[in-house]
């Protein structure tokens, strides 16, 4: 495992900030090799002891995040699984797939509790804070509009009795939505779009409340909320990741990289943002791994400066997730690997900017 410092980080940053990852962060690495095809989304449960991974190979895996041992597999989908989401009690898992099905799973037993079918593929699923609702974003394709549906989840008994009809159904107009999530308290839904637009919808009426047309210049590829949900990070093909205010969708910070980004997340405990990406899978074969820029990059989320890089994948990084306590992060790549990195003591001790640290 090599950890690379960033040679191109801005000159004006303090000397200490450069290379602090190399100096202070030793990573233990477990490479999960349970998938045969590229990863699409990975997610920690609330406690951080389990890691769920979705892949193009039609299966969902659950892993012990500490040692990389596989807990189990959720079989049933017949297409690429684009998205998964685990509730805060680690009881139910919802997944969306290219086979136009959304499934609800019992995490412990691996049983499929409910299956919904739609006209197009499901690109994103997410839980509300209170675990009572899920949202489902379906793709706009072959004459069908992209749609957002919100389903109520009945948590009684073995949870097998679920309503087939959505509570809310609406189609965002304009550029098609690619990612979505519940805003805190679950009253609004935040969406990211192909055009680079970021929008805020009322979760009950489907009314557009706020819109930022020019949030990004390219497709929004990922959207992850901060721990309290008051702000969120988006990654985009325009090679940037941005922090937005969940209330008014204002861009607060911008992180610029040299490669199209596929995923970004916010680290609890330390003031960083982790981003990953790389050249498109189809042009990868023509370039060396070196120039593909398949590193995970760490940015300081207030100063917008790159503070370190982690190498490892030999294809683009498709998805990144961070441990809820900020002790570890995991990345899933086009290469079919999930790499789990545990931060060591010095990562938490390191203060690359001296006393200048935000309160949270």
């Amino acid at each position: 495992m090599t950890v690379e410092t960033d040679p191109s980080s801005r000159q004006d940053s303090l000397q200490a900030s450069r290379g602090f990852l190399a100096d202070h962060l030793q990573l233990n690495l477990h490479t999960a090799t349970g998938h045969e095809r590229s990863l699409t989304q990975i997610m920690y449960n609330k406690e951080g002891d389990l890691l769920f991974t979705a892949s193009k190979d039609h299966v969902i895996n659950a892993w012990f995040s500490t040692n990389g041992e596989r807990l189990g597999t959720y079989n049933g989908h017949n297409g690429t699984i684009w998205t998964i989401a685990c509730d805060s009690q680690t009881k139910l898992l919802v997944s969306g797939s290219a086979d136009n099905q959304m499934r609800l799973w019992d995490i412990a037993s691996g049983k499929c509790l409910k299956m919904w079918e739609f006209p197009t593929a499901i690109k994103r699923v997410a839980w509300s804070d209170d675990d009572k609702r899920i949202l489902c974003l379906t793709e706009q394709r072959s004459g069908y509009q992209g749609a957002i549906r919100v389903f109520g989840i009945n948590r009684e008994g073995d949870c097998s009795k679920q309503d087939s009809e959505p509570l809310v159904y609406f189609s965002p107009i304009g550029s098609k939505a690619t990612v979505a999530a519940f805003a805190p308290l679950g009253r609004e839904i935040i969406t990211g779009h192909e055009s680079g637009k970021v929008a805020l919808f009322d979760a009950e009426t489907g009314e557009e409340i706020e819109i930022n047309e020019k949030a990004h210049l390219g497709q929004v590829t990922d959207l992850q909320l901060s721990p309290d949900g008051t702000y969120f990070v988006t990654s985009s093909k325009d090679q940037t990741a941005k922090l937005h205010d969940s209330k008014n969708l204002q861009v607060i910070k911008t992180f610029t990289s040299e490669t199209p980004l596929n995923s970004a997340c916010i680290t609890p405990a330390k003031p960083y943002v982790i981003v990953g990406g790389g050249q498109d899978a189809r042009s990868v074969t023509t370039t060396s791994a070196r120039s593909g820029k398949f590193e995970t990059r760490f940015y300081h989320r207030v100063f917008e400066e790159e503070v370190g890089r982690v190498r490892g994948h030999f294809g683009p990084i498709n998805t990144i997730a961070v441990h809820p306590s900020g002790k570890a992060f995991a990345s899933g790549g086009e290469d079919g690997y999930v790499r789990v990195h545990w931060f060591d003591e010095s990562y938490f001790r390191a203060r690359p900017y001296g006393d200048l640290e935000p309160e949270d």
Binding site: D49, D228, D245, P268, E359
Partner: protein, 755 residues
Amino acid sequence: MPVPDTVPTNNHEEDDEDIDYTEIEERYQLDMLSGLDNILVVDNVPIVNADRRQKLIERLRQAFAKAGAPLSGKQREDESYDDMEMPWDNEADSNKGFLFLTYPSAAEATAALRNLDQTLFGKNRLHVNKFGDIERYASLPIEEGSTPRGWVEDSEIEPQEHLKSWLADPQGRDQYLTYRGESVDLNWIGRGGSSEPAVQAEPRWGELYVSWSPQGTYLTTLHRIGVALWSGKSFKNTVSHRFTHPGVKLFDFSPCEQYLVTWSPDSIVPKPPKDENAPQDPRQFGPEDEGNQIAVWEIKTGLLLRTFPGEKPVQPAPVPAGTKPEDMPAPRKLSWPLLRWSPDDKYVARCHLGTQISVYELPSMGLLEKKSIKIDGVLDFEWCPDRELGASKENMFAYWTPEAANQPARVTLMAIPSRNVLRSKNLFNVNDCKLHWQDQGTYLCVKVDRVKSKRSTFSNFELFRVKEKNYPVETIELKETCTQFAWEPSGNRFAAITCADPNPAHMAPGVVLKTAIAFYYLDPKKGDFKLMRELENKTANTLAWAPKGRFIALATCGSAVKYDIEFWDLDFTIDDTINKRDAADPGSNMQLLSTGEHFGMTDVAWDPSGRYLASSASAFRQSPETGYSIWDFKGQDLQKQPLDKFKQFVWRPRPATMLPKEDQKRVRKNLREFSKLFDEEDAAEESNVSADLLAHRKRLIDEWNAWRSKRVKELVAERKKAGEDQVESKVEDEGLETVEEVVEDILEETEEVVA
């Protein structure tokens, strides 16, 4: 009727005086010019006394005839000619320095003017004018406050920009050019590698290629129609700094920036003049230049001095019986520059393969002593670059000739203009020679590739110590082939890359050879060169000495598998005194400072001060990832710029220092005091920057904290309003959970039958 008494006669007189004759005068004015159209005035003729008068006249007539303007007048009895008048100053007993020529017709006179004006007669440049023109311009009315017609109205002298203004930068920074896509940018490099644009770039610069003149005065851009020079603080391009040579591919400056040589693979086709009788524009090619490929220009005036034919294709040698054609060495070609300048711009020489070296004098571009130096078999030559020639010393060059029947190969030092052979050395079994002068002309190394057996070669260094009496020569014999050689600038050490592969030339491009790098030094006691240190198994193909010596960068350029740069210090000591070099073992002071990587790099170059090194990856050389990086001399990377379509990175050269020797010594002696000043400046700047930066960061943090606390409060309030229980959003740390993992490896399994 009263009769007037007197007739006022004086009225008439007054009238007479008042009569305006100008009209009549104008009408009947003798036209001074008509009938004199066929007379030319020749100025700047040598002044001679009566004894040599006739000789001068005959010489001049010959010269005129040769220049294409023969006089056909008859000789009078006093031996003078009826069509050539040479005014004589009887008091001084000499001619007056000019003469009149009469041609049969005005047309012939015009033609003669074109051929004769600005020609050289001996050392005198002749100025030829029409007689009528002299009369006309001499009588142009000039009054106060007005200028004659045809003059440029606003002829106020514009102060010209200083050509070396960039040297006056208070911080002593250097400049560099980057050429990317179609755009060229000029930047300063400051402390710590920070860049700052130096000038608004001119969009026309990025047509084909950019470069600097050898002392950095002129920015040189290559265009399809010729070469343009840009100079001064704002990089203006004047008309005289446009050298029109269509299809130009290569150019070269003389070392003192007085002359420019251009080459185009296309033969020159002179443009027919618009007006038959117009004098030939001295900045354009004329009919006599037709078919030539090389042009020599004077930079200050923009005048075309002379053109030369391109290199003639060399007749391939007949293939000896029994050898395959592909075994024959490729026909030799001279590398650019074809015209090579002496370091003082006085001579330029050209080698004609196998026959002769032609030396031309400047500024006349005439052949030295009117004949070339015949050297049978000569294959290459190089001028000694020593600029500080004493009054008595001559320029010199070294050349070599290969083995011929009964004659060994030979390297010779020849003085110019005397053509004295100063030293020659015979060599045997020579395959090829390369002449490497040390930059001050103190040493000459002839790298001799010698044949051991049919397919293997090895190298010798023949080291000439040029500044010593009788030019002593020393030979160092290597076991391997030397692929690269470089003298330490202003020093007495050299580095050589050697390769054990017997046939390095036949390797495919891009393949990295196993090489070793050897350093040699001049032993001060014995006065001969010795091996200082050899770095074995060190792969590199480029040696880049820092411009002031001591530091060297070893790089591997143009390879897809290896792309590192090693920064070495040859005099590494803990304390700062260079005098304490370990004399017994100088190799022990060599120290690798650091190693850097630049994927895809094709070139490395030091800035003229030796503070920075730039490695660049150029699209001209098909680099997989173009761009450039700047490193300091220790190998710390300061800038990394991966840029699409990046073509060139060029440091602006500096002229040799203009500080007198005593001042240099004084500075060196009191270096600590001088550097104190700079240290203070640096510290001030640094604290400024870091104070600004800290304040900026502090502000960012404060803004962030304020925004966060506001949002968190709002969220809490909203949750309360929603009637939700205080859901603790923060994840509680439930203490560390220890996960024990037992890993069992079965090393060996044996089954035994227990009896």
